[in-house]
């Protein structure tokens, strides 16, 4: 029963996957679970699809936790999925959105890494793939996309936390998402959720040049953050990856933007300033609640401003 599930706690992969089944069972008119492929260690990768009907309608993509140690991201994904399911039919705006668009959520974007953070190394960030000729394992799955691949802000050293991998989309976890997005062909937004440091970013990371839609993305981002801040006063910065953090090539939202998905954003969720990746579980629901306001703003904008 999803009502007995503790959304204010961190959970293991098996628990989250099991909870997905419960969510689907309780909201079978809205939610389905799709297996989009398997991870390097052969774990299924599940996407929750929120749809009121139709085939390949305009869609919004949300992934959480591509960097496995950023636990508040996955936890926020769980809370958000439940929020979408329970607010459909109650929240007029969300209901109208789902009556015309679909939402796809990949809550565990790096399942092998997530399991590894629970069983062996809480600080693990990358995938778990083996690199021929190296004792180090794993690729940074947010440097592995075909967007300025191998450029600045990514490492060619397999032992680095930002290793870009042997080739673009070499990581099966990345390739599975690429295949889904390409085969669907009608995604209008691509939102990737990370933690921490309180940022809302848009492309590019591989270049510091402004994207053609920079003014619009900046405006949408600022309005979204204003809503986020209204709940608890959490301060966010808004800008392109390159300009507000550093050059970082091979990132997912650069790929999605270059693929033609204009509304591409990445979140870095809250940081209490004391815990970093070990954000206490009592911060999960406040984090998810404030993030929801920004996510909802972006999704409503996507609904109201088609292209």
């Amino acid at each position: 029963n999803t009502k007995s599930f503790n959304f204010g706690a961190y959970h293991r992969l098996e628990t989250i996957y099991s909870w997905m089944d419960t969510l689907v069972a309780q909201h079978s008119n809205l939610v389905t679970k799709l297996e989009i492929g398997r991870s390097y260690e052969n774990r299924p990768m599940y996407v929750l699809k929120f749809s009121t009907g139709g085939n390949k309608r305009p869609a919004i993509w949300i992934d959480t936790g591509i960097h496995s140690r950023e636990w508040v991201s996955q936890a926020t994904g769980v809370w958000t999925a439940n929020k979408i399911a329970t607010d459909y039919g109650r929240d007029a705006s969300l209901t109208s959105l789902l009556n015309t668009m679909d939402i796809y959520m990949l809550i565990l974007a790096n399942p092998d890494g997530y399991v590894h953070t629970h069983t062996h190394d809480r600080m693990w960030r990358k995938t778990r793939s083996q690199i021929p000729g190296s004792v180090c394992r794993g690729v940074d799955p947010n440097r592995n996309w075909d967007a300025g691949f191998g450029g600045p802000g990514a490492s060619s050293s397999p032992c680095s936390e930002s290793y870009h991998g042997p080739s673009a989309h070499s990581e099966v976890e990345v390739k599975n998402v690429v295949n889904l997005i390409k085969s669907h062909g009608n995604f209008k937004a691509f939102i990737s959720v990370h933690a921490y440091s309180q940022l809302l970013m848009y492309p590019y990371g591989y270049s510091c040049w402004n994207v053609p839609h920079q003014p619009e993305l900046d405006s949408v981002g600022r309005a979204a953050v204003k809503k986020l801040t209204s709940l608890y006063g959490t301060q966010y910065k808004v800008g392109s990856i390159c300009n507000i953090i550093y050059p970082a090539s091979g990132g997912s939202i650069d790929w999605s933007y270059d693929t033609g998905i204009k509304y591409s954003f990445a979140f870095e969720l809250r940081d209490t300033g004391r815990y970093g990746f070990i954000l206490p579980a009592n911060q999960i629901i406040p984090t998810a609640s404030e993030t929801w306001l920004a996510l909802k703003h972006i999704m409503e904008y996507v609904r109201d401003d088609p292209y």
Partner: protein
């Protein structure tokens, strides 16, 4: 399990471009096995570094030598991880 006993996470509120450069130099010192949670970018963002116990004296010495002030954000990472794990176990039992 990988154990983080004695590892600290330190925060540096970067005050100058020179300090950014000095921290970037620190980033290249692979033998220190530093894990930059927030990388040195500008004076507008702090830098958070997980420093293994074995590298604490070297890193703190480097920061002192270059007059780079820092604070200890997490004193013993393993203590925090133990608390996190205990909390998860309690939650799991409650759900069952």
């Amino acid at each position: 399990d990988r154990i983080f006993t004695g590892d600290q996470v330190i925060r540096i509120d970067v005050q100058s471009k020179e300090q950014v450069q000095l921290l970037r130099a620190l980033e290249t010192e692979e033998e220190l096995e530093l894990d930059f949670w927030l990388h040195p970018v500008s004076t507008e963002r702090p830098v958070d570094i997980r420093v293994p116990r074995s590298s604490l004296s070297s890193v703190k010495g480097y920061l002192h030598d270059h007059n780079i002030p820092f604070t200890v954000m997490i004193d013993d990472l393993q203590e925090l991880l133990n608390q996190e794990r205990a909390e998860m176990e309690v939650n799991q039992m409650m759900e069952r």
